[in-house]
């Protein structure tokens, strides 16, 4: 795998600012896209529905969170609540007879509205206090959702999601659901890739680096923070809705509790702040690695004849998950995305390492 810059000459600005200026990136994206499309035939049914599909949706949600956290530099400890609002709105919408597509967008919009209200309340403070106030709002949301039967769906607090109908067609096959998830994930990714190249993206970064300095050069920091909150809430809301329709098939308050918010944060941090590919890595690591390690531990234990209690085994994934966060922060605080970028930068000029700036 060689990324080479040699021999690439851009003759106009458009080429220089293309989404993927380096051909190999384009090739790689092509291959990944093909793989994504062929996934239903490549992966087993179990792998597809329980790993690949949720991974894509979580990656989309992580991208949404990364928009506020990585690009705009604003905390959000209540992102799961935002996703939950999207999910509940969409499910209630479809149950009320609204077409699926519209209901999902409505979910996104509802999440946006709540997100903006969140933001109006929270953006008066920064740093730790922003983190804590969003965290508190998450608790309030949790409480409201689980204490209002009209929302949560009665005593058992589970609300069945109706079948997904895209353009009037029922989508129930595994492949169909997968493609819905893939489509959404691609949409978010392309949006984020383009965001980097727009004035909005640059303004967000300016706000992140120093909001009052940004204000001095004429960037209205509050406005941009609000836009960031709104956009990312929309992404979160729709992701939450799609997650429920394609994966969970029923919605409960625990699916969007504070722990999930923290998990999302972990995805962003482990993947790398403001890194798109990192969000994919982060989602994969946080979703998959703890389980895999657990199996590894169980397998090794069996191999060595050691007897590990069920209870012990049950908590190992959580421990791995915590260790993962700590480890990444110690080794490379900018996350896996940065590690990838390091390798890529190294290869770009290999073997002329000294040519790097």
């Amino acid at each position: 795998m060689l990324f080479r810059q040699a021999g690439i000459f851009h003759t106009d600005y458009a080429a220089d600012r293309a989404m993927f200026p380096i051909p190999l990136d384009r090739w790689m994206v092509g291959v990944l896209l093909a793989l994504g499309l062929a996934a239903p035939w490549v992966f087993s049914s179990l792998a597809l529905t329980s790993y690949v599909m949720p991974w894509l949706i979580w990656a989309a949600a992580a991208l949404g969170l990364n928009l506020i956290l990585g690009w705009a530099g604003q905390f959000h400890f209540g992102y799961a609540a935002i996703m939950g609002i999207g999910a509940y709105t969409a499910v209630h919408g479809v149950r009320a007879g609204i077409p699926w597509e519209i209901a999902v967008v409505l979910g996104g919009l509802m999440a946006t509205v709540v997100g903006i209200v969140f933001a109006f309340a929270a953006l008066r403070v920064k740093g730790l206090y922003l983190a804590l106030s969003t965290l508190a709002l998450q608790f309030v949301m949790d409480w409201v959702i689980s204490h209002v039967p009209a929302i949560s769906g009665g005593v058992s607090a589970t609300l069945q999601a109706p079948t997904l109908r895209l353009l009037g067609q029922q989508v129930t096959s595994e492949a169909g659901l997968y493609y819905v998830a893939l489509g959404w994930c691609l949409f978010v990714t392309v949006f984020m890739l383009n965001l980097r190249r727009t004035a909005l993206g640059r303004a967000l970064v300016a706000v992140r680096e120093k909001d009052f300095a940004a204000a001095v050069i004429g960037v209205q920091s509050f406005y941009y923070k609000l836009v960031a909150f709104a956009t990312s809430s929309f992404i979160g809301g729709v992701s939450g809705a799609i997650l429920v329709f394609t994966f969970y098939h029923a919605v409960t308050p625990e699916q969007f509790s504070v722990n999930v918010s923290i998990e999302l944060l972990a995805m962003v941090i482990v993947g790398g702040l403001a890194s798109i590919i990192g969000s994919y890595f982060g989602a994969a690591f946080i979703l998959l690695l703890p389980g895999q390690i657990n199996q590894l531990v169980a397998w090794t234990a069996k191999l060595m004849g050691a007897d590990i209690g069920v209870e012990t085994l049950a908590h190992i994934p959580q421990m791995v998950y915590g260790a993962l966060i700590i480890g990444v922060l110690l080794v490379e605080p900018m996350g896996l995305g940065k590690l990838y970028a390091n390798v890529r930068n190294y290869l770009l000029v290999w073997p002329f390492g000294y040519a790097r700036k």
Binding site: V140, H147, T312, L330
Partner: protein, 295 residues
């Protein structure tokens, strides 16, 4: 409504609130010295309790010995955590520092569950269950003990901050650069504050553990602790004490009346509301300091 009932709720709430202050004090100690908001304080409380049990049940030490042993253990554990996990991140954006403490929280909690299992264990420190009456008021004996310990510990800290070492810690919390310039080892001071916070956490773990039993729910005291910390001002120990009482009373009285209306669970709602309102209205808390502006 019934005045005695209200009074009883208030007094018991204030006592329980002082025990939240104990959790908050750990957070304040660390925040004061290094501006790190320690979201792992709840897990330290839990860990402290488990370590006490490990010394008493595991190694068979009597309680009066197990507790100091556990405190000593946690003293060094706290130092180690600072050394290994936090020091590397000094100067990094706050998001990474917060995430690190969250990661520690998850790791410590799951680690404790892995080792000791998920079922609750009793912590017996010899507080009797007999009712305690103050006039017509029925008090919770364990809360009385907890509140008393908190106040004693607070007094100890007030005195400590007047000693030479305490003054040095306060100097560090004022200005890192100036501290280095006169030969103060800032790193050692910050490590000491983590160590002290871990000892305080152990105390909290013993007291709360004796009330509710030792399990992972001890780590959820974090939310109460941080709310008290923010309400009192994250760099004010005295603030933590008063805010604890305030939150305790509010929580107890509000839930005493609201629970019937809302069907339970209003305690957490009160805590979240206090947290939000504090941040909205007075982010530096009741006694947190703004930097002194000279007139």
């Amino acid at each position: 409504m019934d005045l005695t009932y209200l009074l009883e709720l208030s007094v018991n709430g204030a006592l329980a609130g002082l025990m939240y202050s104990l959790v908050a004090m750990g957070i304040v100690l660390i925040y004061k010295s290094s501006s790190v908001p320690n979201l792992a304080q709840g897990s330290l409380v839990m860990l402290g309790a488990y370590i006490v049990l490990a010394f008493s049940n595991g190694l068979g030490a009597p309680m009066w010995m197990a507790i100091p042993l556990a405190m000593a253990f946690m003293f060094f554990a706290g130092m180690g955590i600072e050394r290994l996990a936090l020091r590397r991140l000094a100067g990094r954006p706050i998001v990474m520092i917060l995430m690190m403490t969250l990661g520690l929280d998850i790791f410590l909690r799951a680690g404790a569950m892995t080792i000791w299992g998920g079922s609750g264990r009793p912590m017996r420190i010899g507080i009797s269950d007999d009712p305690l009456f103050l006039g017509p008021l029925l008090l919770n004996r364990a809360y009385v003990v907890g509140a008393a310990v908190t106040l004693v510990l607070f007094a100890v800290f007030v005195l400590f901050f007047r000693t030479r070492r305490g003054v040095v810690l306060r100097a560090i919390s004022d200005d890192y650069m100036a501290s280095w310039s006169v030969g103060i080892s800032v790193e050692r001071g910050v490590a000491l504050s983590w160590a002290l916070a871990s000892v305080v956490a152990t105390t909290a773990g013993v007291l709360w553990g004796s009330i509710q039993s030792v399990d992972q729910s001890l780590s959820t005291l974090l939310l109460k602790g941080i709310t008290v910390g923010v309400l009192g001002g994250l760099d004010s120990l005295g603030g933590a004490i008063l805010a604890g009482i305030l939150l305790g009373v509010l929580e107890s009285v509000a839930s005493g009346y609201l629970d019937k209306l809302l069907g339970g669970g209003s305690r957490d709602l009160v805590v979240a509301a206090v947290l939000i309102l504090t941040i909205m209205i007075r982010p530096h808390g009741l006694f947190g300091r703004h930097d002194i502006e000279r007139i």
